[in-house]
Amino acid sequence: MNQFLRFSILLLPILILLFFGKVLLVDEDTKFKNFESKSFPEFQLNDLNGNPVKAKSLDGLKLVNVWASWCITCLVEHPFLTQLSDKNIQIIGLNYKDSDTKAIAWLQKHGNPYLFSIYDPRGDLAFDLGVTGAPESYLILDNQVIAHTQGEMNQAKWDNIFLPLIKKARQRS
């Protein structure tokens, strides 16, 4: 009995260490990987040029990227988004709490990787999507949101979170 006690007293710190190790050393992308897909919220908004956006434009495989001219990290991820659009990834911008004139000027200055940008000055669509700030990215497959990342989009996040889903989607179709 005494031996069992000694053993269990030794075992306890090990268990505690394992527990905290598991909690603390968790892959940062895990929370993005556990995303539950949901349908893209309904909305009635224009693009930056003032034309109404049709729900049909979200058919197929699309990357929806939340951006704004006031957002510094958006500028950081901008070259990567340009690379993606060069590789024929279809990106739709969601211009978040911005003014259209500033947004258009920003795109003229830095280049436009987007097919078009949905103009959401009050952040209504962004709220329904669950945007917590810019930049964020959503992977859309036929009007379903299948993945979501927060913060700068980069190669690592792309390869780790979005690319496996894109491959899966392409295999199916």
Partner: protein, 126 residues
């Protein structure tokens, strides 16, 4: 001299936080009570922890405004929580769901405590 003082003190009055904050007006005190308990029960999506009540992040401001609007529109507490978690995920709820690995969270401490008690009493008998 008096005029200078008046101008000086008017700076203090005009910079009072009330001028800067969104003021929520309710139809009755029950609504107000529900509002304040709800915003302290919804986690700020932009923060490590902390409720939207304690946060002034833009998304928390939007969330508080939405909770306010929903209360005035007659939504129940449960409906509001579902509304928020549909958009911002289960992360927004402080009480983790009773499923999967969360069983450790919910029952781990009790198991741990009973184990300690067992060891304690066994040790005393020796």
């Amino acid at each position: 001299m008096n005029k200078k003082f008046l101008i000086f003190f008017s700076f203090f009055v005009l910079s009072m936080p009330t001028f800067n904050q969104m003021v929520y007006e309710f139809q009755d005190s029950l609504q107000e009570k529900r509002f304040y308990s709800l915003i302290s029960e919804i986690r700020c999506p932009k923060c490590t922890s902390g409720s939207i009540a304690s946060s002034d992040a833009p998304v928390s401001r939007d969330l508080k405004k939405k909770v306010y609007e929903l209360i005035l529109a007659g939504s129940s507490d449960e409906e509001i929580k579902v509304y928020v978690s549909e958009r911002f995920g289960n992360f927004s709820d402080y009480r983790p769901a009773l499923e999967g690995a969360n069983y450790i969270l919910w029952f781990g401490p009790f198991v741990f405590l009973s184990l300690m008690l067992v060891i304690f009493f066994l040790k005393r008998r020796v």
